[in-house]
Amino acid sequence: MTLKEIKELLQAEVICGDHHLGTEIILAGGSDLMSDVLAFGKPGLLLLTGLTNLQSVRTADIIEAKAIIYVRGKKPDDQTIKLAAEKNIPLLSTPLMMYEACGLLYQAGIPGVSPANNSNKAND
């Protein structure tokens, strides 16, 4: 599923990184705790979070996440957007809450990163 299709599914708006919308997303995870993201995140992850500060982008960069979707209509400040543009990390914002946003993506066939999740084909 491409980031563009995800954008439509989640009624999201693009904050930055329009030119990355063709990126294929193969796994996703949602958390507001950056230490959890660092512990369980995998390269290529689509990160859903309610945390809009600089650390959301830093964390995404460190784990090599493909994109960030901020939930509940949240938007980061200019400094965070600037860093994301520098690091080539597209940022989107969805009006949906975390649960609904993750649920829709999971229903659309995008697996998570839980070690107990057998349907996680992204590990192959």
Binding site: P43, N53, L54, Q55, I62, I63
Partner: protein
Amino acid sequence: MTRDDEFRQTFKIKGRDFSHAGGVSTEIKEILQEIGIPTQLIRRVAIASYEAEMNVVMYAQQGKLILSINPETIQIEVEDKGQGIKDIELAMQEGYSTATEEMREMGFGAGMGLPNIKKNSHVFLITSTPGVGTYLKMIFYLDHEKAS
């Protein structure tokens, strides 16, 4: 103890400076990418270094990070002047945290930092003196056989 074939760089970390927090680890990641370290290992180093850097920013007044790379290992030492850790064994437990509400709002302080560092490094050493500061040393083996 510096070897002829060793690259060494020291980075300063400022306590409470949340707008630059993580910048040193990003820089380290870029250095490792430039010299062609395998991606998997870069991730491990970057995650451990980022957690250690966040700890300095959150809990200390100031600190420094020393990156040393030689043909066998990548070593990161982080030394800070700050409140230190009273009970290291307790601090190493997942979920244990002394973080303030402000730190939690930053997305950290869930008691995962030190366990994350230990999990990602091949050798991990920590010493601390309450009221003085904390010293961390992490070693990552470039040779994968030695790492396992």
